[in-house]
C-alpha cells in the first residue's frame, strides 16, 4: 500500500508542477486527453521524451505525451538480456519515437538494432538470414504479417519475438509464433512506447496472455468491475490519475509468479 501511496503522492506533485488540480474523482481517457492538451507547453519546456497518444499515425490531432528522459524500457532490457539478443530487427513505426530506448536496451544486452522500414519485409527477412538477427521487435499486426512472410519464403524463424499490443486491440492469434523453440514476449501499451502491462520471462514462457502491471502504474478494477482505473506514472509530465479505461481485469487465481509480481489477465 505504501508503494501505491508513494505513486499517488508523486503523481499529485506532477499535477502541481503542471498547475492543474488533482482530479477528485475518476475521469475518462477523453477527459484526461483534454487536460493533457493544456499541458503541451509544459511538455515543451520539460526535458522529456515525447510520444504520440494515438496508435494511428495519421491522427495528428491528439495531444502529445511526455515522459522523463531518463526512463528506460525495462521490460525490453530484461527480455533482450535474458534471450541473449544479438541482431534486433526493429519493425515499429518511426513515429513511436522509441529508437533511442531500443538502442539503450540493445547495448545493455550486447546486441545491435537494425531499423527496418515496416513496409519492406524482404529486407527484414534478409536481415534474419544474413545479418545475425535473432530477435524481432514488432506490433501484433506486424508479427502476424512478418511471420506469414517468413513462412511463405520458407525462412527459419528467429527465436525471440517481442510483440507490442495496443490496449484497444482485440487479441490477434499468432499461430506461426506457437512453434516450439520460440519465446514470445507480449506486452500491452497504453500509448505507443508506453508499456502498461508486460510479461516477465516466466509469463512469456507460459504462452498465455497474462501480464504484470508496468512499474509506476497502479491499475485497479473499478467498483462496477466493468472498467479499470489507471494512475501513473510519476515519471510522466502529466500522469494519468484515476483514469477510467473500458477494459476488464481479472487477477489470475492462485498464481504466484516467480518474479513475485501480481499476475493479471486483461479481458479484451
Amino acid at each position: 500500500m505504501s508503494h501505491q501511496n508513494d505513486v499517488k503522492a508523486r503523481v499529485a506533485d506532477a499535477y502541481e508542477r503542471a498547475q492543474l488540480a488533482v482530479p477528485e474523482k475518476t475521469r475518462s481517457l477523453e477527459r484526461y486527453l483534454t487536460l493533457l492538451e493544456h499541458a503541451q507547453d509544459l511538455i515543451r519546456t520539460t526535458d522529456a521524451r515525447v510520444f504520440s497518444t494515438s496508435f494511428d499515425g495519421s491522427n495528428a490531432d491528439m495531444p502529445i505525451y511526455g515522459r522523463a528522459r531518463n526512463w528506460q524500457w525495462a521490460s525490453l532490457h530484461h527480455f533482450l538480456r535474458a534471450r541473449r539478443a544479438l541482431g534486433v530487427l526493429v519493425r515499429l513505426p518511426l513515429f513511436w519515437q522509441v529508437e533511442p530506448l531500443i538502442f539503450n536496451a540493445c547495448k545493455d544486452a550486447g546486441g545491435f538494432p537494425f531499423v527496418n522500414d515496416v513496409a519492406n519485409m524482404p529486407v527484414g527477412r534478409l536481415a534474419v538470414t544474413e545479418a545475425n538477427v535473432n530477435t524481432i521487435l514488432t506490433t501484433v499486426q506486424g508479427a502476424q504479417g512478418f511471420s506469414r512472410h517468413l513462412v511463405e519464403r520458407n525462412t527459419p524463424f528467429p527465436p525471440n519475438w517481442f510483440v507490442v499490443h495496443q490496449l484497444s486491440d482485440t487479441p490477434i492469434q499468432l499461430p506461426y509464433l506457437m512453434r516450439p523453440g520460440l519465446i514470445v514476449h507480449n506486452e500491452v501499451h497504453l500509448f505507443p512506447g508506453i508499456p502498461l502491462f508486460y510479461q516477465c520471462a516466466a509469463l512469456a514462457e507460459s504462452r498465455q496472455l497474462h501480464f504484470h502491471v508496468a512499474d509506476g502504474f497502479i491499475v485497479d478494477s473499478s467498483e462496477t468491475q466493468k472498467e479499470i482505473t489507471v494512475t501513473g506514472t510519476p515519471d510522466d509530465v502529466l500522469p494519468l490519475y484515476h483514469c477510467k479505461l473500458p477494459y476488464q481485469l481479472a487477477d489470475v487465481p492462485s498464481s504466484v509468479c516467480a518474479c513475485k509480481e501480481r499476475i493479471v489477465s486483461l479481458i479484451w
Partner: protein, 425 residues
C-alpha cells in the same frame, strides 16, 4: 584527406595475417603465408583492386566485420528497392559531424529522418556539444504526426532526405513552425532547383545545406557541405572528410584521373574513421559520378559536385521508387505499340503547391504504330512505384504531375544510352 602514410597503415591493418576479417586478404588474393600488403608508391596504391557492392554482398556481415558483432552500435542496409539484394553495413559510433556546428548551435530540439544519423546518434551528438538532446524521428509515412511532435518540443533544426522535404515542409508549415527552422540539411538525392526554391520559400530563416553520403560508408558523410545553398550553381558543393580519401576513375578504363577542376568520373572512396572501425572501406566504387569544381576550396581541399548515379537503374521518388525493370515490364504489356527500349526523364516542376515530380517517358515506337493520346495515362496506371502503388496513385494523391509518353528519337551520340535520367534544372 587521408595521407599516403595513413593509407599504408590502413592497408597494413586490413591485410594483416591476424586481421579480424579476412575480407581484404581474400579480395587481394593474398596467400596464407603472405604478410600484410603495403604499397610503396601512389602508383602501387592505384593498382589495388577496386571494391564493389557485389564484393561486399558476397561475404556475410559476420565475416566482413572487423569488430565482434556484439560491439556494433547498429546496422544499416541499403534499401534493396533497386532490385539488388540489400547490403548490410555495420556501424560504430557517431564521429566527424562537427561541421554542422558551423551552421547550427543545437540549442533547440532537432527533427531528423533516421538516415544518415540514427536518433540515438543525434542525441549523443547534441549532448556532447552541450545542445538540447531532444530529437524527433521523422516518419515519412506520417509527416503531420512528425510535425505535431516537432512543434510540441519546439524544433528549430531539421535533417531530411531530399524527397521527404516537400511533405515535411508542408506539414511543418501547417503547424506553424516552418519559420522557426534555423537549419535544414538535405541528403539522399541531388537537389533540384525547384526543390531548392521550395525550401527557400518554406523555411525563410533556415541555413540550408546539402550533404552527400552512402549507407556503405561507416562515418557518414562522404561529402561535407562546402558552403550553404544560396541558389548559386552548383547548388550543392562538397569537400571530403579528413578521414576519407577520394579518387576519380574513368568509368571505362578504370584508370585514376587527376583531381583537377572540370574533371568528371566515377568516385572511389577509402574511408577509415580510426578505431574502432567495423569495416574500413578501401577503394570502394560507390556508383556515383562526380565533377571536381575547385581543386583548392575554402577548406583547403578539392570541392566537388555529384552528377548522379553512374548506372542508374532506379529513381527514388516521394512515396516510392521507379525501377528500370518495372518500366520495361509495363512497356512489354503493349507489344503492338512499342518495344521495351526507353529513356525516362525525371524533372521537378514548380507548381502553385510546391515542386512536383514530372516524368517524361520516351519509348521506341514500332514501325507503323502510333501512340494513342492517353498513352501516358495508360502507362501510369500500370507503372508500380511501390508494392501496392502505381504512378497514377501518386498523381491522384497530388505527389506527381501526369506522366507523358512520347516517341524516342535517336540523336547521334557516342555514349551508351542512359535509361533513367534525373534533371536538376
Amino acid at each position: 584527406m587521408l595521407s599516403f602514410q595513413q593509407r599504408k597503415e590502413l592497408l597494413a591493418h586490413c591485410t594483416a595475417q591476424n586481421a579480424p576479417s579476412s575480407f581484404y586478404r581474400k579480395h587481394y588474393r593474398l596467400s596464407v603465408n603472405t604478410p600484410d600488403f603495403i604499397p610503396a608508391t601512389e602508383q602501387e596504391w592505384q593498382q589495388l583492386p577496386i571494391v564493389t557492392k557485389g564484393n561486399l554482398s558476397a561475404s556475410t556481415l559476420e565475416k566482413r566485420s572487423f569488430l565482434p558483432l556484439n560491439t556494433l552500435d547498429h546496422m544499416r542496409a541499403s534499401s534493396g528497392t533497386s532490385g539488388k539484394a540489400p547490403l548490410f553495413s555495420p556501424r560504430t559510433h557517431v564521429r566527424n559531424m562537427d561541421y554542422r556546428l558551423a551552421y547550427f548551435d543545437f540549442s533547440a530540439p532537432f527533427l531528423a529522418f533516421g538516415v544518415p544519423m540514427m536518433p540515438h546518434w543525434h542525441e549523443q551528438f547534441q549532448t556532447e556539444h552541450g545542445g538540447d538532446p531532444r530529437v524527433i524521428s521523422y516518419d515519412p509515412r506520417y509527416p503531420e504526426m512528425s510535425a505535431r511532435l516537432a512543434a510540441t518540443v519546439g524544433v528549430e533544426g531539421v535533417s531530411l532526405f531530399a524527397y521527404h522535404v516537400r511533405a515535411a515542409g508542408d506539414a511543418l508549415r501547417a503547424v506553424g513552425i516552418a519559420e522557426r527552422i534555423r537549419f535544414l540539411e538535405v541528403t539522399g538525392e541531388v537537389c533540384s532547383r525547384a526543390l531548392y526554391e521550395y525550401m527557400r520559400g518554406t523555411f525563410p530563416n533556415a541555413t540550408i545545406v546539402q550533404s552527400y553520403g552512402a549507407s556503405e560508408v561507416e562515418d557518414v558523410h562522404i561529402g561535407m557541405p562546402c558552403r550553404p545553398m544560396t541558389g548559386e550553381e552548383p547548388l550543392a558543393l562538397y569537400h571530403p572528410k579528413s578521414t576519407h580519401f577520394l579518387e576519380i576513375i574513368d568509368p571505362v578504363t578504370e584508370r585514376v584521373v587527376p583531381m583537377e577542376a572540370g574533371v568528371e568520373g566515377d568516385l572511389l572512396i577509402t574511408a577509415y574513421p580510426g578505431e574502432p572501425a567495423a569495416f574500413p572501406l578501401i577503394r570502394f566504387r560507390i556508383g556515383d559520378t562526380i565533377r571536381i569544381v575547385e581543386s583548392d576550396c575554402s577548406h583547403k581541399d578539392i570541392a566537388f559536385t555529384v552528377l548522379g548515379r553512374t548506372e542508374l537503374d532506379f529513381l527514388k521518388l516521394e512515396g516510392g521508387i521507379l525501377r528500370a525493370d518495372e518500366v520495361e515490364r509495363v512497356l512489354r504489356t503493349m507489344p503492338d505499340l512499342m518495344t521495351d527500349e526507353f529513356e525516362l526523364h525525371r524533372y521537378e516542376r514548380r507548381t502553385p503547391h510546391g515542386p512536383r515530380t514530372y516524368i517524361d517517358l520516351k519509348v521506341r515506337v514500332r514501325p507503323g504504330a502510333r501512340l494513342p493520346e492517353d498513352i501516358g495515362n495508360s502507362v501510369a496506371t500500370r507503372l508500380r512505384v511501390g508494392p501496392a502503388q502505381t504512378y497514377s496513385d501518386g498523381v491522384a494523391a497530388g505527389r506527381y504531375l501526369p506522366l507523358t509518353c512520347t516517341e524516342l528519337i535517336d540523336e547521334p551520340s557516342s555514349r551508351k544510352r542512359q535509361r533513367l535520367i534525373s534533371h536538376t534544372d
